[in-house]
Each structure stands twice: as C-alpha cells, then as structure tokens.
C-alpha cells in the first residue's frame, strides 16, 4: 500500500520538475528578445557588430539616447523621440479618457434606465464588437478626407468615445457589482441624474475603470494602423512613437545599430514601466475578459 502511494508521489514529483523545466524555458523565450533589445540599446554600434550577442548590459545607453535626439539634425532621418512622446501621450491619454468615461456612461444608461431601446441598443453593441478596423478603414479615411480631418488628430481621438467591447465589460461589471438602489437614494436626496452619475456612480466603478483604462492606454499607445492611415502627409512632426520606429526602420542611411535599438526601446518604455507596476492587475483583467457571459 505504502509502495503505491510512494510511487504515485514520486511520479507527481517527477512531473512537477518536468513542468517547471518547460516553464523556465518558456520564460527565457519570452524575456530573451526583450532583454537582448535592452542590452543592445546600452551598447555602442561597433561593439554590437564586432562582439555579437551578449546578455550583459554595457554603459552606452545615455550616449545612444543623446544620439537619437540629434538624429533629425544630422541627416534626413525623420526621427525625434521627444516629438513622438508628445504626440503619442497626447493621443493616448485623450483617447483613454474618452473611452473609459463614455463607456461607463453608455453602460450606466443601459443598466440603470428602463427604456424601450435599451435592449436593441445592447444587442447592437454586442453585434458590432467584432467588426475589424480594416474593414471600415478605406471609407473612414476617405470620409475624414472629405471632412478635412486627415492629418489631424481628431480621427484618432474622437472615435474612442464608441468602444463596444469596453461598454460590454462595464455593463457586466455594473450588473454584478453596482447597487442600483443607490441611484434612487440619490434622487430622493435631490441629486440630478448626471451629477449622480459623476459624483456617485463613477467613483464606485473605480476597479473596472482602472482595468479598462490600462487596456485602453496600451491599445492606443500600440496603435500603428490608424495613425498611418490618417496622417497622410507623412509630416514627422505629427508621428506617433510606432511611426517613429517605422521611420527609423525604413531608413537605410542609419547604420548605427545601438541607436536603432535605443529607438525601439524608447517606443516601448512607457508600456514596460506600466507593466512593471500593474502587471497583476492586467493579468487578472485578461482573465476576467476571458470568461464572457
């Protein structure tokens, strides 16, 4: 009897060790490319070409950053990390705010109020959740051109107001965690509908808002398709960070590898920093989004 138990324990033990080995290998695969990127951003170009691959950071990072700042002065390379950051942060922060605020508002309208169109409106939101951007992009850019909005940021920011997937999430959250009675209590106390929403409901939605704000921030920061569709004139003063990376990539004249790596690092740095602090929240958020319905 004891033997059976022991062999079972031994087998489980062996399997656990095997699983751990696989997990460690996968961890290395996940981190290694990003690690090499960061390491190479700290090395001088000649060192990268001569010494090849290494995993130990060097001390050239500040120098490389200084180089990237001057890229625009020396050659015809349209790159500026500062302008890129300014544009990307402007678009990302505005779009994130709009997405979260108006998604809460739409979900609130659907959950709290009992009106005839609320059912059909919700069905509509569900149905359009999966329409990909690419499908509408041709008509979108042409239409924005007709409105003289291409080469402006409006088409990149305003559409954030209508985010079906976020509305869906907010609605689920409200249904499960938001006490609707509180709205009536506020009414009795004489609070107007909008001020109830702003002063009472929004603060109660904080956990959901936090998660969705992070996801919206990441999605907007990483968005490369819409900006490159809308900013037709290719004026680099308007470029977002991913466009700056593309601009450096497609330039054959830039032979400094350290600077190239540094440019990529700069484009993902804000995201990585956010992830370092909020990774648990993000990972839990993915899991919640997964169990829809």
């Amino acid at each position: 009897m004891n033997n059976v138990k022991d062999s079972y324990a031994a087998r489980t033990m062996a399997k656990s060790v095997g699983v751990m080995v696989v997990l460690v290998i996968l961890t290395i695969i996940c981190i290694l490319p990003i690690w090499i990127l960061f390491v190479n951003a700290t090395r001088a170009s000649q060192v990268i070409t001569n010494d090849g691959l290494t995993l130990i950071p060097s001390n050239y990072f500040i120098k490389n950053i200084q180089e990237t700042v001057h890229l625009n002065d020396i050659g015809k390379i349209s790159y500026s990390a500062l302008i890129g950051y300014k544009n990307s942060f402007l678009i990302t922060i505005c779009a994130t705010f709009l997405t979260v605020f108006f998604s809460c508002m739409t979900a609130y309208g659907l959950v709290i109020y009992d009106f005839r169109m609320s059912g059909p409106a919700y069905t509509f939101i569900l149905a359009v959740m999966m329409v990909p951007v690419q499908v509408t992009s041709v008509g979108f850019v042409k239409f924005m051109g007709d409105l003289h909005l291409t080469d402006t940021y409006w088409p990149l920011i305003l559409p954030a107001i209508a985010a079906p997937a976020v509305v869906f999430y907010m609605r689920q959250y409200m249904k499960s965690a938001f006490p609707a009675d509180i709205v009536e209590a506020a009414r009795i106390d004489g609070s107007g509908e909008f001020s109830t929403f702003i002063t009472i409901s929004l603060p109660m939605m904080k956990p959901a808002i936090g998660v969705q704000a992070i996801f919206a921030f990441i999605a907007n920061w990483n968005n490369f398709y819409t900006p490159s569709m809308i900013l037709i004139s290719r004026n680099f003063k308007q470029y977002t960070m991913p466009m700056m990376v593309q601009s450096i990539l497609s330039n054959d004249k830039l032979s400094d590898l350290g600077v190239r790596y540094t440019a990529i690092v700069l484009s993902i740095l804000p995201i990585i920093v956010i992830y370092c602090f909020l990774s648990r929240l993000i990972v839990d958020g993915v899991a919640e989004g997964g169990v829809k319905e």
Binding site: M130, V131, P132, S137, A162, I188
Partner: protein, 337 residues
C-alpha cells in the same frame, strides 16, 4: 412603507435619461464607424481611375474574385488569392502552436496535484510579449534576424557551426516562420490566461470525482477538461481568426527597406497598399474590405450564436431534467401498487 418623496420619484419617468446617456456613443459610432462602413461599400462599386467618380457596379468584385481577360486585371485576382493564402498560412502557423501550448500550460497551471511555484510570476512573464507594441516587435525581430548587419541570431547560428547566414527576412518560408513565431510569442500568454479562467470555471467536484475514481491526468484532460472547454476553445479560435484576418503590423513592417515580401503580404497589407502606396486603386481596396467584412461577419455570427447558446441549452436541459424527474416520481408513486 414608502415615503411621499419615494412615491413622487417613482412616478417620474426617467426613460429619457437612458437615451441621453447612450446618445454620445451612438452619435460617435454613427459618424466614425457606420458612415465609414457604408462609405467603404459605396467606394467598392466605383472605379479605379484617378478619380473615384465613375460607377463600375460589381466590376471590382468580379475582377478580384474571378479575374479578367487582360493581364493587369488577372494580376489583381492572382494577388488577392495570394494574400488570402498568405493570411491563412500565417494564421494557421501561429494559431496551432499557440493553442497547443496555451492549452498545455493552462492544464498544468490549474492542476492542483502539480506543485508549481510562482504561478503568478509565470503568467505575468508570459503575458508580457502581448503588451509590447507590435510595430516595435516587428522592428526588434527585423534586427534580431537580420542577415546583413550581423544579426544576433545569424551570428549565433554561425558560431554554432552554420556556414552561410540564413535569409530570415527575404526567404519565403524563413520570413513566414519568423512572423508565425513572433505572433505565437505575442499571443500564447493571452490565450493561456483565457483558457485558465475557463478551466477554473469548470466545477471542481468533477475533477475531484475523477480523482477518486482513479482517472489519470490524460483521462481527466480528454474526458472532462477538453469537452467542457470546447466552447471556449472555439470562441478563442474564432476571435483569433478575426484577429488573424487583420494581421497588419508585423507583415507590413517585417521587410527589408522598401521592398515587398510577396510571401508575407496579408489581406490587411493588401488593402493598405492599394489605398496608400498605389492611390489609384481605392476601388479594389474597398472591394477587398467588403469581402473581408463578409468573412468576418460570418465568423462573428458563429461566435455570437455560441455565446448565446449555453444559456438556452441550460434551460432546455433543465426543462428536460424536470420532466424526467416528474416521470420518475409518477412511476415510483404508482410503483408501490
């Protein structure tokens, strides 16, 4: 007892506020999504000349789907077939390994018998590639796999004894392989977390019962986990397929300089190129978008039906069960006589 204030508030109709609250969403959706969608449909039946004025009916679709008698028209058709094929190949090549890997990991992570330390750490690390800007991933892999400028991978391979550097960027299957790998790398963590959540949604008593009955881990997987996970796997597959049809950042950027790699050009890149790089071809671009729209709609409605299904199924099953119970009770009630 209700106070008079409460009664007064009950008597007011607040329905109109519901409209006020959802109005901004629908106005913006109308202007920035619906009108563009209809505009895409409109553009798809106009010509491909310098202006988009001349109406050509379904000519763009016919050219794209069936080809034409002149060489340039036939080329359009061939191109569409090629990019559709590329999209499917790239999707399969990243979805199959991605699903297999994340299913395996999800089962391991939820198996309580295995003693895995630092689950949260592994989850966080494996999700990390997903949040990195896709454009920067393309840039990074382009540099890592570079042939000309002493790319790290090639220099490492040559240290290991390889004689010639491998052309990971221009080579047909090499470049596809890198993109498939990059996509898998970016998405397996996401799929894994979603599948884990689904597995944890399965009632633990089922696993306990199987454990008591002496089922081994393979039996548990094939007889319990997999069948109950099937809706989630199908859901993941369809969303991934819709995502795969939109694959743009990586295939668009993963190329040498300005030249195109015909083996990795996807349907989204095709739409983009006809719109931006060859500006006279709005019509083809729009028509391809419309085709993409229908493919996505079909896939999406599958997903939609599936999401709605479990509830309806549950209800049906409950009713059936209740009927069966009633029958049994009747039987046992009369059985005594």
């Amino acid at each position: 007892m209700k106070s008079s204030a409460q009664n007064r508030i009950r008597s007011i109709s607040y329905a109109k506020y519901g409209y006020y609250f959802i109005l901004p969403f629908f106005i913006v959706y109308f202007i920035f999504q619906l009108v563009p969608l209809l505009n895409t449909f409109r553009l798809s039946v106009y010509g491909n000349g310098k202006t988009t004025e001349d109406f050509v009916g379904l000519q763009n679709f016919i050219t794209l789907i069936a080809g034409g008698d002149s060489l340039p028209l036939q080329a359009q058709h061939d191109n569409l077939i090629r990019v559709l094929g590329n999209t499917l190949i790239l999707w399969f090549g990243n979805f199959i390994p991605q699903l297999a890997l994340s299913l395996l990991l999800a089962v391991w992570f939820t198996d309580l018998n295995l003693k895995i330390k630092g689950k949260t750490f592994f989850k966080i690390v494996m999700y990390l590639p997903n949040i990195v800007t896709a454009a920067s991933v393309a840039a990074l892999f382009l540099m890592l796999f570079s042939k000309t400028e002493y790319g790290p991978i090639n220099s490492w391979l040559m240290d290991m004894g390889l004689k010639e550097p491998i052309d990971f960027i221009k080579g047909k299957w090499q470049s596809r392989g890198v993109i498939m790998f990059a996509q898998t790398w970016m998405w397996f963590g996401n799929t894994m977390i979603m599948l884990m959540a689904a597995i944890m949604g399965i009632s633990p008593s089922l696993f306990e019962a199987a454990d008591i009955d002496g089922a081994n881990s393979r039996q548990v997987f094939t007889k319990i986990t997999l069948p109950l996970l099937r809706p989630m796997v199908i859901y993941t597959m369809i969303t991934s397929m819709i995502g795969g049809l939109q694959m743009w950042d990586l295939p668009y950027l993963y190329k040498q300089g300005q030249s195109w790699n015909r083996a990795t050009e996807t349907i989204a890149v095709f739409i983009y190129n006809h719109f931006h790089v060859i500006p006279q071809n709005y019509g083809y671009s729009a028509a391809t978008s419309v085709i993409l729209f229908f493919i996505t709609s079909i896939l999406g409605s599958f997903c939609f039906a599936m999401n709605a299904d479990p509830e309806a199924k549950k209800k049906k099953a409950l009713i059936k069960e209740a009927k069966r119970q009633a029958k049994l009770q009747n039987k046992s009630a009369f059985g005594g006589f």
